[in-house]
Amino acid sequence: MPLAQQPSSVPVVVDEGKCIADKGCTVCVDVCPLDVLRISDATGKAFMKYDECWYCMPCEADCPTGAVTVNIPFLLR
C-alpha cells in the first residue's frame, strides 16, 4: 500500500532572515529532545521537518539570534 503525504501545520517557526544555519550554526537541531529540526538543503536555514513536538523550547531558548519561535501545536491550542 502506498503512503500518503498528509499536511500538518508545524509549531516551530524559524525566521529565515535571522537564522544563521547557512553560516554553520546547528544549535536548535542539536538541542531538540525529539530531534525534529533539520537544515534545509534548498535554503540553508533551519526548519521543522517532523511534526513531533513537545513544545518544550530549548530550540528557542538556545538560538543565538532569536530566530526560533515555539508555538502551541494546533491540536492542543
Binding site: 525529539l34 533539520r38 531558548a61 538556545d62 501545536p73 492542543l76
Partner: protein
C-alpha cells in the same frame, strides 16, 4: 542527515550509563568522581544538554528532607502511607538520609534554593503530614549547571545513540548494551562491567486527549525504552499496575501546578469554585477524588488562583511561564486566560509508568541494584516510589557510587555474537521493507487501544481484549512496519518499547485482583482493597522460555513502624460536607 548507513563500532568501558536526563548525569558524575581513572560512558538518545524531564529546568524540589524541617523517619512514614503500605522502606530511607547532601552539592553547582530572611531554606508544606517542598528561584539553569560539571569531569558523552537491548553473559551477568545512531542507523556495541539505566518514565503509553502523539505529560522522548530493555534482559519490574495519572492543565497537558500555587494559597476547585480535596499532593487517592469530581455534576475541575492578591498571582505566573514548561504562558494567552480572572480548566493525564510520581518501575534495592547482576536503575524508571527530581539525582548518585566499587571486583562478561547479529536484524527489519505501515500509525493505534482498554477504572474483560488487540498490533509491527530513514527507525524502535509497556501494563493489572492506590489501580470488578491476599509487591519478568510471568513478593519488614491510626492518613482525601 537521516540516510541509513550500515556499520558497527565497539567500545569498552567500566560503567555504561544509559540516559542523560537527571539520574544519569549524576550517576556518571559520582562514579567518575569516586574513581577518576575509571572509564564511564554516558549514552543519550537526544542531547545531554537539553534532554529528559528537566530539559527546561524545574520549579522546585518536591521531596526535600531538610534538617530542621522534616526527618528521614517522618518522610519514610509519609511515603509508606501514601503508597498504601506497599513500600520497601530501605531504599526510601536511604534516599531521605542522602538527599540533603545532594541539595548541598547542587547548591555548589550554582543552583539556588529559596531561603527566608534568616538565610534558612524556605521549605513549604504540600504533603499531608510533613514539609518538603523547596522552590528553586533559578531552576531554569539546572540542566546547564549539571552539564558544566560533566564537561569538567571529562565524562565521555555519546549523544543521539538509542540503546535497544542489554547484553548479558552466559552467567546472567550484565555484559553491556547495543545501541543505534538515531541519525544514520549505525550500531554501537558497548562492552561494560556495569550498566546503569536512567531512561526515564514510560510517558508515551496512553494517548493524550488532544490526540497529539507528542503532547504527553512526560518528555515525549521518554517512550519506556528502559522498562522494555530491563524486561528483555530478565530483570524484575515491580507494581506496574500502579499507573501514573496526574492532574494537568487540560489540552496543554502540563502541570498547573499545585506544588507551585499551593503554598501561595492556590487550590484545586470544582465548577462552583469550592475545594473538594484535603491535600493537593499527587497520590492515587487524591487522583481518585479528582476523577470522581470530573465525572460528577460539579465537574470539571479547575485550578483556582483568582482569589489571590495581584502580586502573588504575578509571582506564580513568573514561575509557571519561565521554568519546566515555559510554553504554558503562550497556551494561556491563546485561550485568553488570565489567572486573575477565570479559573484554569484541569484534566487528568494519559496513563504511564513513572516512579517519580507513583510507585512502579524496574525493581531496585537500596543500592539501586536490579535483579540482574551488574545492572542498576535510577530515576523515574526505578521502583523507588514518589522520588521526583531530587530522587533521580540522589538515587543516581547511589547507583554510580555502588557501581564504581562493583566494577573493581569483576571482569567483562562474555558477549554473545549471535545475539548481537539477531538484534541488528530485528532493529533494521523495518528499513528492509519498501512498503508497509509507518511507525506513527502503529504507535497511534497502540496508544488508542491503551486508552480504550487500560485506563482506570480497569475491567478484567476489557484488559483481556486489550491483550488480543496488542497481539494483533505486534504482528503488524514485526512483519509490516516500514521505516524510510534513520529518524523513522528511531520511532519504530520506540513503538516496540511502547507495545512492550502496554503488554506489561495489562498483564500486571490483571494479576492484582483487588483495588489499591486510588485511581492508579482502581479495578471496577474488584473494588475493595484486599490486604489479606494483596499486601505485597507484584514482580513481573520474562521467564526462561521468553514468556511474561508475574509473582508476589513480600513487602520487606518496616524499618520505620507505622501506627494503625496513621495508616489511613491518605484515605480521607475528600473534604467533608460543611454542617
Amino acid at each position: 542527515m537521516d540516510e541509513i548507513t550500515e556499520g558497527t563500532s565497539q567500545v569498552d568501558c567500566d560503567i555504561l550509563v544509559i540516559g542523560g536526563g537527571t539520574a544519569g548525569p549524576m550517576a556518571a558524575y559520582r562514579a567518575k568522581k569516586k574513581n577518576p581513572n575509571a572509564k564511564v560512558i554516558l549514552l543519550e538518545k537526544a542531547n545531554v544538554k537539553r534532554s529528559g524531564a528537566i530539559s527546561m529546568g524545574m520549579d522546585g524540589l518536591n521531596n526535600a528532607v531538610i534538617p530542621g524541617h522534616s526527618t528521614p523517619e517522618q518522610y519514610v512514614k509519609e511515603i509508606t502511607v501514601a503508597n498504601d503500605g506497599i513500600v520497601d522502606q530501605a531504599a526510601v530511607y536511604k534516599y531521605a538520609q542522602n538527599c540533603y547532601e545532594i541539595i548541598q552539592e547542587l547548591d555548589g553547582f550554582g543552583i539556588r534554593f529559596q531561603k527566608d530572611e534568616n538565610g534558612d531554606f524556605d521549605v513549604k508544606k504540600v504533603h499531608h503530614i510533613g514539609t518538603y517542598v523547596l522552590p528553586m528561584p533559578n531552576g531554569d539553569t539546572v540542566k546547564k549547571a549539571l552539564y558544566r560539571q560533566l564537561k569538567r569531569a571529562r565524562l565521555l558523552i555519546s549523544n543521539r545513540y538509542m540503546a535497544t537491548r542489554l547484553l548479558t553473559g552466559k552467567d546472567g551477568r550484565i555484559a553491556g548494551a547495543i545501541a543505534v545512531n538515531t541519525r544514520n542507523a549505525e550500531f554501537l556495541v558497548v562492552r561494560a562491567k556495569a550498566v546503569i539505566l536512567c531512561m526515564g518514565a514510560a510517558g508515551r503509553l496512553g494517548l493524550p486527549t488532544s490526540g497529539y502523539l507528542f503532547g504527553t505529560y512526560e518528555n515525549a522522548a521518554n517512550s519506556g525504552d528502559g522498562y522494555a530493555m530491563a524486561y528483555h534482559a530478565g530483570a524484575g519490574l515491580a507494581n506496574l499496575e500502579c499507573f501514573q495519572i496526574n492532574p494537568l492543565i487540560k489540552d496543554y497537558n502540563g502541570p498547573a501546578c499545585a506544588y507551585v500555587a499551593g503554598p501561595f494559597g492556590g487550590y484545586t476547585a470544582n465548577n462552583e469554585g469550592m475545594r473538594f480535596i484535603e491535600c493537593d499532593y499527587w497520590s492515587g487517592q487524591m487522583m481518585q477524588e479528582f476523577y470522581n469530581e470530573l465525572q460528577s455534576g460539579k465537574g470539571p475541575v479547575f485550578l483556582k488562583l483568582n482569589h489571590l492578591a495581584d502580586e502573588t498571582i504575578g509571582e506564580i505566573e513568573t514561575i509557571l511561564h519561565e521554568v519546566e514548561r515555559p510554553t504554558r504562558g503562550r497556551f494561556q494567552v491563546n485561550r485568553n486566560n488570565d489567572y486573575r480572572h477565570g479559573m484554569i480548566e484541569m484534566h487528568i493525564s494519559e496513563i504511564g509508568f513513572c516512579s517519580g510520581h507513583s510507585a512502579s518501575g524496574v525493581y531496585v534495592d537500596d543500592n539501586a541494584c536490579t535483579t540482574v547482576q551488574g545492572l542498576y536503575a535510577a530515576g523515574d524508571m526505578a521502583s523507588v516510589p514518589h522520588n521526583y527530581m531530587l530522587g533521580a539525582f540522589t538515587n543516581g548518585a547511589v547507583a554510580g557510587e555502588h557501581a564504581i566499587d562493583y566494577v573493581n571486583e569483576v571482569d567483562f562478561a562474555d558477549i554473545d555474537e549471535d545475539f548481537i547479529a539477531a538484534e541488528k536484524e530485528r532493529v533494521l527489519a523495518p528499513t528492509k521493507r519498501d512498503d508497509g505501515i509507518p511507525p506513527n500509525q502503529v504507535e497511534y493505534k497502540t496508544r488508542r487501544l491503551v486508552n480504550d482498554y487500560l485506563q482506570p477504572p480497569k475491567v478484567t474483560r476489557k484488559m483481556q481484549l486489550a491483550q488480543d488487540r496488542f497481539a494483533e498490533t505486534r504482528a503488524v509491527m514485526e512483519n509490516e512496519m516500514v521505516a524510510r530513514n534513520a529518524h523513522e527507525l528511531m520511532r519504530s524502535l520506540e513503538v516496540s518499547s511502547i507495545l512492550d509497556c502496554a503488554d506489561m501494563a495489562a498483564f500486571a493489572s490483571l494479576f492484582r485482583t483487588e483495588s489499591r492506590w486510588g485511581l492508579y489501580h482502581n479495578r471496577a470488578d474488584f473494588p475493595e482493597r484486599d490486604n489479606e491476599n494483596w499486601f505485597c509487591h507484584s514482580i513481573l519478568s520474562k521467564d526462561d522460555a521468553g514468556q511474561m510471568t508475574i509473582k508476589k513478593k513480600d513487602v520487606d519488614p518496616y524499618i520505620i513502624p507505622i501506627e494503625d491510626e496513621e495508616k489511613d492518613a491518605y484515605d480521607k482525601q475528600r473534604i467533608k460536607a460543611q454542617a
